[in-house]
Every structure is written in C-alpha cells, then in structure tokens.
Amino acid sequence: MKLLLSYLIFPGFLFSACIGLFAGWVDRKVTARIQYRVGPPWYQNFMDIVKLLHKEIIIPEGARLTFLFAPFLGLLSVVLMSTILGRSLNIYASGFSGDLIVIVYLLVMPAIAMIIGASSSENPLASIGASREIKAVLAYELPFILSIIAIIVKSGGSIRIGSILNHQAFAGSNIASFSGALAFIVVLFSIQAKLCFVPFDASEAEQELMAGTLIEYSGLPLAMFKLTKAILLYALPVFLIVLFMGKDISPIFLIGKYILILVSIILIKNTNPRLRIDQTLRFFWGPMAVLAVLALGLTLFGL
C-alpha cells in the first residue's frame, strides 16, 4: 500500500509530473524571453495535457497493437525510475543495491517506447524518425554509460545511489575533481540528447519530419508521451545532481542546483542549431567518448 502510494503520488507519478510540467513551462518561458517574446502563462503545460485528454484518439489504419501499448511502456517505466530516484534521495537507506543500474536501464525505456510506437504506426515519416532515434540512442548511450562507470569507480565501486551520496557527503562533490568535471560535461550533453532537445532532436524535427516519431499520435497517447517527456525533464537533472553534486542535498540546495542545470540545458537548446543525425553520432562517438574515457582513466589514477 505504502509502495503503491509512493509510486502514484510522492515521489512518483503525481509529484514528478507536476514538477516536470512546471519545468516545461520554465523552458518555454526562458526560450520566449531569449527571443524577446512574452511567453505562455505558468499553467500552460497543464492545460495542454488536460486538453489532449479530451481529444479524440485516432488509430491509423494498419497500426499494430504496440501503437497503443508503447506510450504506457514509456510512462510506466519513467515513473518507476523517478520513484526509485526520489526514494533514495529522501532516505539514504531506502535504496537497494544496484538501483543505479536499474535507473540507467529504465532511462532507455522512453526512447525504446518511442521507437516501438513510431515503427508500428505505418507512417513513413514516423519510421524515418524511429530510425534516427535508434541511431541517437546508440550514439549517446556509449559516453553516458562510460562516464557513469567513472563515477562508480570514484565512489569505491558502489552501485547504490545511497552510498554514492554518502561518499560525496564525506569526500566532496564529484564535480569538484578533474575526472568528475569531464564526466559531468559528457553527461550534460547526453541528457540533452535523452530529452530530445534541440541540437540532438533530429528524430522529432518539426520542420523536416513534421514531429517525426509522434506524428500519428493524438489525444490520450500523445498526452502520455508529453507526460513522459515532462517527467524526464524532472528526473534527469536530479539524476545529474545525485551523481555529480551530491555533497549537500538539503531541499534549498537541491532546488537551486536543479534550476541551475535546467537553465543551462535550456541555454544549450536555444543557442545551437539542429545537428544532422550523422553529426550527432560523430559528436558522441568522437569528442564525447574520448572525454568519457579520459575521465575514466583519471579516476583510476585517483584524480
């Protein structure tokens, strides 16, 4: 019962969705201010979701069952991820051994859900989007996992979030060392790609692919994908804080660091043009992978 509550309300679905939708508004507002516009009111993203819930659901002719199954997969796994993350943040001891690995796996699920849904919709543009998404996943997972391994080595081979936090509380934040800073840069760009934000959003390119992977979705399933995105926007920066800036995670500091990371993601998004998918691949397997390997090497020497 208590587990179910924590999955559905705090720190699971309801809480993380609210924070995520609000963060989505921050994104739109900051973008608007950068372009000298006013931007939408604060409740905008909530309104979008409520409106989508009332729209007709269209299932294209020839779509498979997985078309409707995919949004559930994405949303459920991302909620599970944010619950595990939130609980291990709340009380250090409530995590279990290996929760870091579970989170890393669950973080791939939204992208996989997207690929499954898009490729079962029988739309040519969606299938181009899906193929780009697959390439993007292959691109960013390598440096992402390498730099997480660097963090694991740094905190004494522990794969529990609680003990990574404990280690940082005694030895200082991971970002304060050379290897930690390098790994931080790599993970920052990787979560940019995980969120499908602008330099790496070739799979959802509005101008060329007309929303790409999401093109056939309408109504409730689209709302679920939007919610998945929103929860990711809440959970990924928190994950970054846990891994790299975990020295002091009292609520005030946590919110401050969250806003810092959120705004830097938004600034990267607004100051870069979209990369082609081959450029994305080259970027992640070239400079980013080298940086991640470098970070891993430096941690082995204890820097």
């Binding site: 009111p41 309104m47 309408s218």
Partner: protein
C-alpha cells in the same frame, strides 16, 4: 465553464493548411509568432502534424488538387477541430471566382467557424478573429 472548454480555449494548437494561396497570407500568419504579436501568450503554437491540431488555418482558394487534400486533412484531425479561413481568397474567392481552376470556396469543402477577411488580413485582425472564435466556443458551452 467546464474544464474541457477552458483547456481547449487556453491551448489551441494550430495547423496551417495552405490551399494554393499567393503566400502573402501565410507570411502574415507566421507574423503572429514573432515577438511583436507573440500569440504563444495565449498558448497557441504551430504544430507539425495534423493529428495534434485543434485549429485548421486555411489560406487560399482551393483548386481541383488542393480541394481533395483539404478534405483529407480535415478527416485526419482528431475532433473537436475548428477551422479558420484566413484572407479574402479563403473567405470568398474574390477575383478567382470565375477562374477555370477554382471549383468551390473553402466553406463548401470543410465547415468554417471563423472568417477573417483582408488581403492579407493584418495580424491584429487575425488575433481579433481568434478572440471571436474563443468567445463563440464559450457561448456554445453556455447554451
């Protein structure tokens, strides 16, 4: 006012269907998203896919080809969907009325909710039209 109508009026997503206009109206539509007018203040955004749309903005006189496309587009939108005809062309075909290539005006192909005349209409006029559309929705709800 029910939550459904409130949410709909606060977040209208616009899909732009150009049925052979002279492109002048299209440019004026895009003007609405620039800093001076910025209708994202009211929650409106341009969407890429017609499945996500709440408002179908139609510009231009349909000809034999685009007429069929427009009909198809309207049948692909998830309802409720509103249609706005922008420009004299879409409202009443003006000088193209006798043209060999203009079978019918827009409102014989799809049900139009708001007409915004002008050649091209000013962005202010379009915003006024959208406000009328929202008021119409609210009035319909009250009945």
């Amino acid at each position: 006012m029910s939550l459904k109508i409130k949410a709909l009026t606060k977040s209208l997503w616009v899909f732009h269907a150009a049925t052979s206009p002279c492109n002048n109206c299209d440019i004026e539509v895009l003007d609405l998203f620039t800093p001076r007018h910025d209708i994202e203040r009211f929650g409106m955004t341009l969407v890429g896919s017609v499945r996500h749309a709440d408002v179908l903005v139609v510009t231009g006189v349909p000809n034999y080809k685009t007429k069929e496309r427009l009909k198809k587009l309207y049948s692909q939108v998830s309802k409720p969907c509103l249609v706005v005809a922008i420009g004299n062309c879409a409202c009443g075909r003006i000088m193209f009325k006798e043209s060999y290539n203009s079978p019918c005006p827009v409102d014989e192909v799809v049900p139009v909710d708001v007409y915004i005349p002008g050649c091209p209409p000013k962005p202010e006029a379009m915003i006024a039209g959208i406000v009328k559309l929202i008021n119409k929705l609210k009035a319909k709800e009250k009945k």
